[in-house]
Symmetry: C2
Subunit: 506 residues, 2 copies
Amino acid sequence: MVSPVSTLTADFNNSSSSTSSKVKKILTVPDGVNPALMKMEYAVRGPIVQRAEQLTQQLKDEKESSSVPFSQVVYCNIGNPQSVGQSPVTFLRQILSVLVCPSLINLEPSPFPTDVIERAKGILSNSNGIGAYTESPGLLYIRKTVANALTLRDEGIVASVDNIFLTNGASDGVKALLQLLIRSPNDGIMIPIPQYPLYSATLTSLKGTQVPYFLNEESNNNDKNWSLDINELQTSYNEAKRKGIDVRALVVINPGNPTGHVLSKDQIYSIIKFCEKNNLLILADEVYQANVFKPSKFLSFKKAVVDLNSDVEVASFHSVSKGVLGECGIRGGFVEVYNMEKDTRDVIYKIFSVSLCSNVLGQTAVSVMMNPPKLGDPSYEIYNKEVNGIFNSLQRKSEKLSKAFNSFEGVSCNNSQGAMYLFPKITMPEKAIQESFKQGFSSPDDLYCMQMLEQTGICTVPGSGFGQKEGTYHFRTTFLPPEDQIDNVIEQMRTFHEDFLQKYSH
Amino acid sequence: MVSPVSTLTADFNNSSSSTSSKVKKILTVPDGVNPALMKMEYAVRGPIVQRAEQLTQQLKDEKESSSVPFSQVVYCNIGNPQSVGQSPVTFLRQILSVLVCPSLINLEPSPFPTDVIERAKGILSNSNGIGAYTESPGLLYIRKTVANALTLRDEGIVASVDNIFLTNGASDGVKALLQLLIRSPNDGIMIPIPQYPLYSATLTSLKGTQVPYFLNEESNNNDKNWSLDINELQTSYNEAKRKGIDVRALVVINPGNPTGHVLSKDQIYSIIKFCEKNNLLILADEVYQANVFKPSKFLSFKKAVVDLNSDVEVASFHSVSKGVLGECGIRGGFVEVYNMEKDTRDVIYKIFSVSLCSNVLGQTAVSVMMNPPKLGDPSYEIYNKEVNGIFNSLQRKSEKLSKAFNSFEGVSCNNSQGAMYLFPKITMPEKAIQESFKQGFSSPDDLYCMQMLEQTGICTVPGSGFGQKEGTYHFRTTFLPPEDQIDNVIEQMRTFHEDFLQKYSH
């Protein structure tokens, strides 16, 4: 089988261009790989983003003589605040640096406030340091901090360390719960449309059934927000049941992604009653719980379940990537389960144990997020100043951007009550629709976003990546670029949009 | 459905003890959860470890008046060096602390050598800092470092950044490749017995078929190592084919876990030829590549594949958790694929993109592991001293421990040529076998390890967790406890072992 003399050239490490294949490849596309993974789609990191990465590299390589009609790529495709200039929060980073390099404690004079040193010492003396695997669900010491913080958030409803599992970002928690729920292709999970594609992608990879329910873009009040309609939930559920699907759980993203709406107490109560009635578990994606502009107070699904004295099982996901920390690269998060049997939690424990544990610096970031400095602590003032600065700037940018979108011809955009995104609707010219299919795009908003990228350098995600009512077209943008760039982003988008309408108007 | 008045008491957050259930639970055990996850087993974090964690807590709570017959739990169940006293390598930690808190660069006088500052600046200026998501397969800058290091390791065989995916530890890479390979329950993967249970657990969760091949405990030479026999591979393969299984890949763990053997060049060549002949992809678990005592040089499967001018597809896994860094809590690793088509790599990219990226400090740790300080660098001397200290101590402890095991009555233990484990074989007294089944243990070595824990505080993993030939009994222990405790560990194990034999002798 083996040729004794190598006939390979310099090209030998790129096997795809090899012509003298001796053995049949195993992982051939499409038949050789798991078909569920072939089908899986994930637009937030799809072809438009990959093109944006190429353009970024091209700008870097070509420098002055670039053929690209803009000077930088502005990534509005993903909630990644620090990639577009948001500064990390000092208090957290100081604690992490001491944990990474404990000898920094001995520096004189100390560059760190005393509460930073105390926090770091607390974790060091209740762990084997950040270089050791922790217990599978995360350090008990940190889970206690999280449990206490949840108890405070939920106005005294006691959280238990046994219900908390620390994870690498929220995604790992979502995947674990979906993996637990999907026993066969007949098992269905209700997901909102539009939705964050982690849910559809994971369900596809698990060969489960998506049971979509539509969020309502045209609300009946003056608030101009997306909303959730219980009748629509019931209709969607009934239709799935008619098809013989065993509907097992409902995903709710609150605050909404990509829609930015925040559910009211009444809506949350109604959803829980709907789940009780139809025997559904609730997967509550609450990663934007610190990004609520209005109403000013976040209500967790778990608190609402307890308020209603309900037995409905809930899993709530949280993350350090969003909120005001925006620490996406650290990969910290957790899932809190509630109303779940001990035997079930043991299986969740086992799932996480196969990956041993989540990264310990991410675990630490979770503990800081949940337990920030308090009034009187040395770091309180600077922490508050930083965090309020970020929060208020996000709100201003959100309002400015949605107002601008509503002034574009044929565009309407609901307000954002929370989260980090706007999801404007575009009245798509008929010729653009034809052109997009001619060019092989799956949806006209793919064409729209690709052309926006090529013309302006602004990278957004087409509505098709999140799902939308047939015949409607959207894109999702973050409102994360720095405040002094927002006007420029708006003007570039406006110019592009007018050109696009012009181009496809007749 | 909802009772207007709460009838719950202080117990309400522990639903499992609730008696007035109104709704039917969804995630009930066993019927309500994915049966594959119910079946999945992971002994490295199984019931014995959970008992060890209870005992640790009990010792902490009870302090002086403890009823436990030892003063500390010694965790030998898992390759977690820093949990048993191994110090982190200074150079890596200094770089990470600067990345976490870049303002430390401005400290005067600087507590960091100049090469630490340079490394940190290199990563900062080629990324958006450690708080931003990176590209899905990891920072290009770090993948370039890894590719260069692999080229050097493999004596000039050029590695490509497009073949490298940075992951949270090695586990995520293994799971991604297995997920790609398993299309239906009829797809089989050859795994060694004994094996690291990540493979069996992941295959069970994916509903794939395990095709076990036995490693050979009794070698024919004087080396007293575990070995791999090509005839056994072929027998195992043929048997699976006869059953109609589509055997797709072979897992090789080299250096071996839990067996500690290191494959020779001839053996590696033979394995590749076997895979060519039978059309198998190679999953090479090479996380212990820096833990090779003899032969002194590690040969990667990828290099051997190129040496043989072979087209066999290879995925090689590596991690910062092992080697001399032992940075388990940071969760850094990577997979390098080779001979794979571009379309296949695109699917791998997509899998990782759903989790957005691995943690950036883990990515950085990978880059430092692959590109340590060089002769002449300011950090070279201390780095080398630390790393050699760790390496030599591991080797001494391994030899001491295996020699001791061979002096226990009815115990035989092969040498460790690498990795971090010994896997001694116990001649189990017939009465112990009967007792273990009476007590409901699945294997007599479960009873052995549980009693060892209860009597000495030493936590090991029963051979049943890794698989073993029927009628043989083993346990796995790391040789990681500090050198000054090893004699004590040996004496406690010896006393326990003698008592055990005594207890079950008649």
